[in-house]
Structures are given as structure tokens and as C-alpha cells.
Amino acid sequence: MSRTKLWLLWSIAAPSVACTQGDDSTSASEGTSQGVSVTTSATEDATTSGTTGPSTSSTTDPGETTGEPVDPPPEPSGNALDQNTLFMCVGAPALPPADLRLLDGREWYRGVGSDAKSQLRNVPLYPLPNHRYSSYGDGDNIDPSVLSFYLDVVNNAGVSWTIGKYNAGALRTVHEDPETQCFLKDVAPSAECTRYFARRFLERGAIFRPASDDQVDALVMLAQAELDEEVDVSARSATIRTIASAAWMTSGALFRPEMGAGQPDEHGRLRLSDWELAQAIAHALSRAPAGAPSVKLAGGGSVYSPGTVDGDLPEFLGAAESGEIKDPEVVAALVRKYIGGLDEERFDARLDPGYHENRGEYWMAAGVVAFFREWLDYGYLAELSPKVEVSATSQWSGSTVELSYHNTINGSKGRENTLITQLDDMIARILTADTNVFTELLTSRMFYTPATAGYQQGESSIYKSTAEMNRVYNVQQVTPQTREARWIELPAQERAGVLTHPAWLAAHALAFENDPNLVHRGKWIREELLCQDIPPLPLNVDAMLSEESQQQSARQRISEQLDAKPECAACHQYMNPLGYPFEIYNHAGFVRIEDHGAAPDGSSLLVDMPSPELNGPITSAVDLSQRLGASPYAKRCFIRQTFRYFAGREERMYDACTLAAMEEAYDASGGSFTELLIALFNSDSFQYRTPQ
């Protein structure tokens, strides 16, 4: 199951259902605050009283009142903090601690000059399972087991620096730099040549910032030893691989510093150095270092991934070198250029599995893609247990629908992309428009759907796995293989936004249509769209729906077995009302036309919500999405989620001025996600660190 949000799955699993003996409490626990209370204590401990009810409130956290750096427990849940207070800037300084960040897998394989299609994607640099987002760095470590695997991978990674310039995988950094050629070709490279290559490798292939003389000296010494052992120049590629492996083993290549430099300010903080800041923004946006090699793509021709001889995001390198990265306008310009937009060629997608030519024409930076996949938690849909009877209760039936659906999950047949990338593309379109982004995310009816023309019976031998790929969107017609045709505005009564997208619906559901899918969906909304934690279930609560009820609808099962029992409803009142609206869909995301003999029922009543605009009756998930999309409270949670992923940590009370500035930037720009990120990247929360 998924990795970045394993803790979330854990807690989502918890409320599966109901109540006499048994317990899901430990499942609900990891990485979330436990039994959060409604208190106003100034300590993290204030979040542990065990009362029921979603968390909304401790108002402060360590470090806020004194301004002194403290060493708190690892990443307490930001959801335990009161949201209204979090957006009140009273002038308290942001005090994030100085730290080193261990690279994650994507950052590493892009840095070494590879892509997601390579075996190098298996590099064992995984986020910790208790981290909400993969970008978090708290507690990173390389234990001996991880190191053992890393050695296996790193031994083979240097080949990217030895590939001939006419072959796929060749790096511009190597072949378009005239000064590296002597080291590639000379029988006995000069000392000057070797030193240049070593520095070049460190700065454009390993650490992506100026190398110290010590670092260069050490690598030169190793390189010279390897050169001395060469029989002839044909052994040079082996020498380069050894140099590369050694360099990638260094701490500078594995850990990205966010230490700060210069003189401390009045709060004792250091501002990130120019290189630290440039790379922090580059990593947040692109999940790769500025300077990551531009790679010659497979498929013939001379098409490279973005970048110059100095690698990708070259303007970041220049801004770091000149110091201009400190200028907020420079940051803004870099973000605007690299956050995404319109690209008919979809160069970005060429580095990932799939068929870029069939993707939508809008792209997002890799970091933005990762954020949405992790926040909405649909990125690991293909790893979830397969759905059974995928079209049950919908207007569709038959083995072709079943097989076509599974093909939209795993993408094994044909050249259409998967549900995951279809949701990516939908979001990219909204972000490219960059207006009222949060509302659009929850209300847009423009979905990027799979083409089915050319995949019908008589047209293709794989038609049984492709002909009805668009049925999960309730699309009747055969869709031509054009981008224009794939974009379909779905009916207003059926879909509205990402929470009604089949990818999200399936990612938050179990195997059967009348499983407690609504609990999972409701819990996600409570925790990730309203930023409130759900208390864990206590011991002696049996989270099982009865076997006798397996012929009933999920609504009936849950209303009778959970809502009707006070001991269950105490917690499920925070999830189920938010989940019932999704009963107009089945577990796989198909629109229902019936539900165990009755009409589909998405009605619900929201009471005691954290903000009054959310209260009231709901008719369906479409209605709910529109209400959430118009809610200032839910919008603020979205801003908090954005902060979490791109700052790489849970928010703290001392981030209030940053959150307030992000909201102001978003509102003033008419709901621009780009301006939201610019405000974050230019904030003290992002740019300052407290030495400890």
C-alpha cells in the first residue's frame, strides 16, 4: 500500500466500522494526534486528552511564546492546531530548525541523470511512513539495510555519465561541455583535466552547489588512483562509474542542507544561503535539484529532457550564483516560469512512464503533481486491492466494462493513460487557468477522459480491455483519439471536481460497492479538507459490519449499525455525514443508477461543522463539493496542506504570518495557486532557520 501516506491509510482504515468488541485504535494512531481535545493549552501535550470530537483547537505550540528554539517531539500533527488562530499574524517570528534533508528517490534519480522509467527509480530513499508528505525531512536516516541497497543501486548509476553522445541516456552535462572531453578521451588526463572533471561531477552531478576544496581534493585523489590502475582508456567508463559511486556516497550528495548562513537576525535566525534557498525552491517545485542533467530521451532523434549543458532549471543556478535569489521578484519569476502551463509536446511527461502524446496539453511541475497526488491520496491507486464487480449498481455491466476499468487502473493495454494521470491532467488544466483554483478543484466538470476510438471490437485485438474505458465517467459515446475529444464536460448532476473523479473515489474505497467506502471518504474530507483529526477508536469496539447485512446498501448497513449506536456515532458523526453524499457512486467511481433496490441516495445533513457555511442539508457529492469549494474554512485547510508539502513539514503556530500572507496573496490574485506558492517561498517560514 501507499508509502507517503501509510499513516493516513492506517487511520483511514480505522473507522471501517462498528462496535461491540475489537479495536482499530492502534491503526488510527500512527502519525496522527491521538484523541485530540478541544483545549487551549500551549503545549503539544494538550492534544492528548482522549476526548471525542475532531481536533480544532490548541492555540499555541512550543516555541511560540518564548521565541526560544526548542526540540519538540517529531512532527506533531498540524491538525491539532486551531485553524482560525493559525491565520492570525501577530508578528511572532517563524522559527523552523536548521536541518539536513535526505534526498528522496525522485530527487536522487533525477540528480544522477535518470528518470522514472529506469531501474534507478528503485533507489531505496523512501519517505518515513509516519510522514504526512514525502517532502518531510524530520527524522530521516540511512540505516545499514538502506545503505546496503543504496550501494547496490549506486554501483550501477554512474553509467549515465559514460553513455555515448549518440545514445539515449546521454547527458548534455557530459557531452556539451568541451572541458570534460579530455577526461573522457585522453589516455592520461592531466591533473588540471582531472580536477575539472571532479569538480564538474560534484557540482553538476552530485551535490549541486559549489564544492569545497576538500570535497574536490578527495575525489581527485580517488580518480587519480583509478586512472593509475587503468590498463588503457577503454577502462575509463569503469573509472567514471567508480568516481560517480564514491561521490554519490558522500553526505553532500545525500543530504541537502537548510542550515542558514551569515549573521543571525534579532530572533537568532539565519537566512538560508543563496544556494540553499535556490535548491530548496527547486526541489519543492520540481522534485529535482537545479542542475539535474538534461538527458537524451529514448525514441530516436536528438530530443533531450529540459535543460542546458548546466542542467535543468539553469536560471536557479544563475540566481544562486549572483545572489539574486534573495530578491522576491526573482523568486516570483522563477516560480511562474517553472510551475507549469500549456505544452503541446508535454516534455515533462517524457521522463515518466506512460504515453505523453496522449496526455492533456497542460503540465505541472513534478513537485506540484506530487503534492496533489499525496494530498488527495490517489497516486497509489494501482497498488490498492483490486475492485470487485466494478460496475455494480451502475448502468454498465459485462466483462468488457470490468476489464476496461482495470486497464484504466494499471494501464497495461493500449496507449491511453491511467485514471491517475487523467486526474493529474484535470488538475493541470485548472492550475494553468490559475483562477479560483481551490473552488475550481472542487467544482470543475471538465474531465480528461480516455479515448476509445480504435479500441473497439473489430478495431483492436485488445478491445475487451479498452473498448469501454470511459464508462467509469459515464460516457456513452466512442471518444476519438484527440485531446479535444478527451476533454469532456460531464453532466452537472453527476460530477463536480476532484472528489467526484473516479481516481479519488476508487482510491478511497474498498473492494465491494457496499463496503464502508463512505466512511473512508468522509474521514479523508474531515482530516485533509477540514484539517481536523478523528479520535482513534477505543478498545472493545469491533469495527466490522455484520455478515448478515451483506445484501444491504452501504447506507443501510452503516446507518443501522453505526449511526444508530451512540458508542459508534460518537466518532462516526465526524465522518459519515461527509461520506453519505458519495453513495451516488459505487466503490470504483461509477455513477449508480440504483442501490439495492432503491434509488441512489446522496443525501446528508451536516451539523456542528467547524464553520457555519458548511452546515445544512446536502443532496449529493456534487452539492457537497460545491459547498466545500465555496467555504473559506476549507480553503484555509487547502492553504495549510500546500504549506505542509512545499515547506516540507507540519505547520506550527509560529507560521501564522506566513499562512496569513499566503491567504492574502491567494485572495488578492483571484485564487492563484502560483501566487500562493510565491508567497510561501518568499516567507520567513521558508527562508529562515534557527540554529540548535
Binding site: M1, R3, L6, W10, A14, S16, Q21, G22, D23, D24, S25, T26, S27, S29, T32, Q34, P74, P97, A98, D99, L100, N122, P124, P129, N130, D140, N141, I142, P144, S145, V146, L147, F149, L151, D152, V154, N155, Q215, A218, L222, A246, M249, T250, S251, G252, L254, F255, P257, M259, E383, L384, S385, L510, A511, D515, L539, M544, E547, P691, Q692
Partner: protein, 481 residues
């Protein structure tokens, strides 16, 4: 800063150093001084259902005392431990592998079944995660070192083995690691390796053939280079305690790898004598399997070889522990699934139907079969005191108690071997009174027993804080002594 010399002189390479300063030092347990001491723990994710390990005689005995059928531990009527000697353990649904097949050794008379152990303080639910092997509730991460790490840090257990412990398993995951069940110390999870090819590389890479062998030798140079680099960085590093901890941790890992590298090279002969099939050696390559049960077989093969070669004296073999069972599908058991439709592990466990339970009982059968496989391999190898099995105690235990969404009231456990460690594994079953009774016993007592048996007696393993969570202290007298 931790120096390499300090690491080399420490017998507790990971978190055990501090633990050894406690009650474990200089105390004698049951094991003869000169005999090796080994512990192998099979841990099955999401419940070992008691009904599948309950033999007919024990059931009959307990039901006669209760005066009613036993559906769960809550039906137990006894208030004192009930010992059933000569229990026909192999007649239990999932313990058939204990019986002799052909020329194989019968393990029935070398085993003991334990019922009635509780651990409600660690929670149940889907998994108790680290709580299962630490006997402490795991909220937000590892609460303390788990029993495997504690055992591995005991000098008499560790002896001269290069690996503190072997931790492998079978699970569906997007990464090669499972970080949910084992921990070196509080907040320091220990990875369980879930890809057999990676396990082979980790433990037998030193004697791999071809390119893999060259790569292994190349590792040493890279490690030495990295060690110097990190040492240099640490000397100049200041301003971040968090960053310093990360660099120090990396330094420790490199140093350990170098030490181990030297040891493994020196053990080449012993490794070659038991080396399992290499990845890529056979066609079709079993290492390419996607069936977690087939992966389990490979992991067991490597684990057995590691024990025989002396690579470690502590092993944990996970069968979907933590979250590892969640997505597990068992295609080799497709015929047993309800409607023959293979579904994910969580959904399967949610079903609760007789057919679904039969699949889960078969998973337990296969797990016990792998335990029996190791036990027999150890029994075939003579060593001081008899055979390796005499000096090895093997456990089969759940990671959350009795079922999916458990109460953690019943942790049915199988023990095999360990005669020289003092275990009464003589074909008996021991049923403790149900949870809540004064004479109920807990998994913490079982872990106390393990520690006593290897010469590091402790009577309150895993008890953290002031809260009273223990029914009783000390080992289980009905099973050891």
C-alpha cells in the same frame, strides 16, 4: 562523535548498548554457558486465529472445564493455567506441518502451544505494529526496542555473528522495506526486508557469483571513501542537532557495513556451504514471483541458510505484519477464495465468511510450515549440546492477537525447539485463563521467558511509564524452567 573504534568495541551495534547497562548484565540464565543461543520469531500480520491452531484434545479439555463450546477466549472457564500433555498438535487445522512426513522429523514432541496470552495494553485492531514485539503500545512510532533488538544486543546471543539480526518478510509494498514491527530503540524502526532478491544480496552478496561478486568487492572502497567524507563533515558541522544526528547515523551505518564486510569475507567458506539459490540462477527465476507466499518460501530459505552459516542468531520472519498484509493477494490459494475471486488482504479479512477464514487458516498453515522447515534444518545440524534446534527457540505469533479488528486478548503462540534454553517444548499445550482473570498471562511474560532463557533474565519486559499494564511479572513457569 561516535568513532569507528567505539563501534568496533561495542557488542551492541545498534541500540542495545544502553540496554545492556540495565538488568541484563552479568546475570545468568538457563542456557549452558558455552552453547549458542538463538531465537527465531515468525510474526503473522493481522491475527493468528486460535481456532486454527487449537488441537482436538486441548479443545475438548477446555470445553469440558467451560461447560460449553469454545468460540473464543471469552468462553474459557478455567481460572488456573491448563496444561494438556501429549496434545495432538499436528491435528490442528494449521499445525499439520509439525507432523512427520516420510523421513522428516516429527516436531510435535518438540513443540508447545500457548493459549490465553493477552496484550490488550498494546491494542489490537489491524495491527499492534511495534507493540506486538515490544509489549508496549505503539502510538506514533516505536515506543522502545522490540524483543528482537533486545535479544540481538545480548553478547551471549550475538556472539561473533556479523548481523545483529535478520529481519525479512513477505508483504505487498511499494518499497523493499517494512518499518512497522521491529525497532532498535524508541523512534528507531528496524527495517524488515520484503524482497527476497534484496535479502539475498544483503546476507549472501559476499559469495554471489559473477558481476554481483565484483560489485560486492567494489562496495568496500565506496564505504571507506564515504566514511572519510562523513568524518570530515562531522568535524566541521555545527548549528543543527537534527542535522548532526543524521550525519552521525549515516556514519554509524557506514562503519557497521565496513565491519560486516570484513567479517563476511572471512566467513566465505561457511557461506558458500549453505548459499541459497541466487537470483537469476534458475529459469524461471523464483525471485521474480509476485505471490507473497512464494516470496515467504524464499525468505525462509535465506533465513535458514543465514542461521546455519552463523550470520546471525536472531531472526524475525514477518508474514504481512504491520500494514504488510493489507494488499496481499495469494494467487496460489485462488481455489480457496470465496467465489475463487482473489481479493486484497484487508478485504479478505473483512469478509469473515467461512471460505475467507479458510484462506487465512491456510496462510497460517504455510507460515507454520516454513517455521517447521527451519526447525528441521536446524535439527539436522549437530553442535555443542546436541543440534542447532536444541539451542534455538522458534516462535510463531501474531502481530495483533486473535483476528482482524482484534481485542488483543488472545495471542495464540507456537513454540518449537529450545531444549537447551530450558523450554518445555514437549508436545504440551498451555492455556492461561482469559483476559481479565488474575491468572491470565501476557505476551510480556513470554518475552520475559525468552530473556531468561538466553541468560538475560528480566521480569518486566517492555513496561514503560508508571501505568500498571502488567497482570504479573516474570517468565512463564508452565513453559520454561
Amino acid at each position: 562523535m561516535i568513532t569507528r573504534r567505539r563501534l568496533l568495541t561495542s557488542s551492541a551495534l545498534l541500540a542495545g548498548g544502553a540496554l545492556l547497562a540495565g538488568p541484563f548484565t552479568s546475570r545468568r540464565g538457563h542456557a549452558a554457558d558455552s552453547y549458542p543461543r538463538r531465537v527465531v520469531i515468525f510474526i503473522e500480520g493481522n491475527g493468528v486465529r486460535p481456532e486454527c491452531v487449537l488441537d482436538p484434545l486441548t479443545r475438548q479439555t477446555l470445553e469440558s472445564i467451560a461447560g460449553k463450546p469454545i468460540a473464543s477466549n471469552r468462553d474459557y472457564g478455567h481460572t488456573e493455567p491448563v496444561i494438556t500433555t501429549n496434545a495432538p498438535l499436528a491435528e490442528a487445522r494449521s499445525l499439520g506441518a509439525l507432523a512427520a512426513q516420510g523421513q522428516e522429523l516429527s516436531l510435535v514432541e518438540r513443540s508447545a502451544l500457548v493459549l490465553g496470552l493477552s496484550a490488550t495494553q498494546v491494542g489490537g485492531g489491524h495491527s499492534s505494529n511495534f507493540g506486538a514485539l515490544s509489549a508496549s503500545k505503539a502510538l506514533g512510532g516505536a515506543p522502545s526496542a522490540t524483543i528482537d533488538a533486545i535479544l540481538a544486543a545480548i553478547p551471549e546471543v550475538r556472539a561473533m555473528t556479523p548481523f545483529d539480526a535478520l529481519r525479512v518478510g513477505a508483504a505487498t509494498s511499494t518499497t523493499p522495506f517494512n518499518y512497522r514491527s521491529c525497532a532498535f530503540a524508541k523512534g528507531k524502526p528496524a527495517p524488515i526486508l520484503i524482497q527476497p532478491a534484496a535479502t539475498f544480496s544483503n546476507y549472501f552478496g559476499a559469495v554471489a557469483s559473477g558481476v554481483a561478486a565484483d560489485s560486492y568487492l567494489q562496495r568496500k572502497r565506496h564505504l571507506e571513501y564515504a566514511l572519510e567524507d562523513v568524518d570530515r563533515e562531522l568535524k566541521a558541522f555545527s548549528g543543527s542537532s537534527k542535522g548532526h544526528a543524521k550525519l552521525s547515523g549515516y556514519y554509524e551505518s557506514i562503519a557497521q557495513m565496513l565491519d560486516r564486510h570484513e567479517q563476511l569475507i572471512a566467513m566465505k567458506g561457511a557461506l558458500l556451504a549453505v548459499k541459497p539459490t541466487e537470483p537469476g540462477e534458475l529459469d524461471p527465476d523464483p525471485y521474480l514471483t509476485v505471490d507473497p507466499l512464494e516470496a515467504l518460501v524464499l525468505q525462509t530459505e535465506i533465513a535458514a541458510a543465514a542461521l546455519l552459516a552463523g550470520l546471525t542468531n536472531v531472526a524475525v520472519i514477518s508474514i504481512g505484519s504491520g500494514d504488510g498484509y493489507w494488499g496481499n493477494e495469494y494467487p496460489s490459494l485462488a481455489a480457496l477464495y470465496p467465489g475463487k475471486a482473489v481479493i486484497g488482504g484487508h478485504d479478505l479479512r473483512h469478509s469473515g465468511s467461512p471460505d475467507a477464514l479458510n484462506v487465512l487458516h491456510e496462510v497460517t498453515s504455510i507460515g507454520v510450515g516454513q517455521l517447521a522447515r527451519i526447525a528441521r534444518a536446524l535439527a539436522d545440524r549437530p553442535e555443542p549440546g546436541g543440534t542447532m534446534l536444541d539451542n534455538t527457540i522458534l516462535l510463531y505469533i501474531s502481530d495483533n492477537g486473535e483476528k482482524h479488528h482484534s481485542n488483543a486478548e488472545e495471542w495464540a503462540t507456537l513454540l518449537v525447539g529450545g531444549d537447551n534454553l530450558g523450554f518445555k517444548t514437549d508436545g504440551r499445550s498451555v492455556a492461561y485463563p482469559r483476559s481479565g482473570q488474575p491468572n491470565n498471562r501476557q505476551t510480556s511474560n513470554l518475552f520475559n521467558t525468552l530473556l531468561h532463557s538466553v541468560g538475560a533474565p528480566t521480569d518486566d519486559f517492555g513496561h514503560l511509564g508508571a501505568e500498571q499494564t502488567r497482570v504479573a511479572k516474570g517468565p512463564l513457569a508452565e513453559l520454561w524452567g
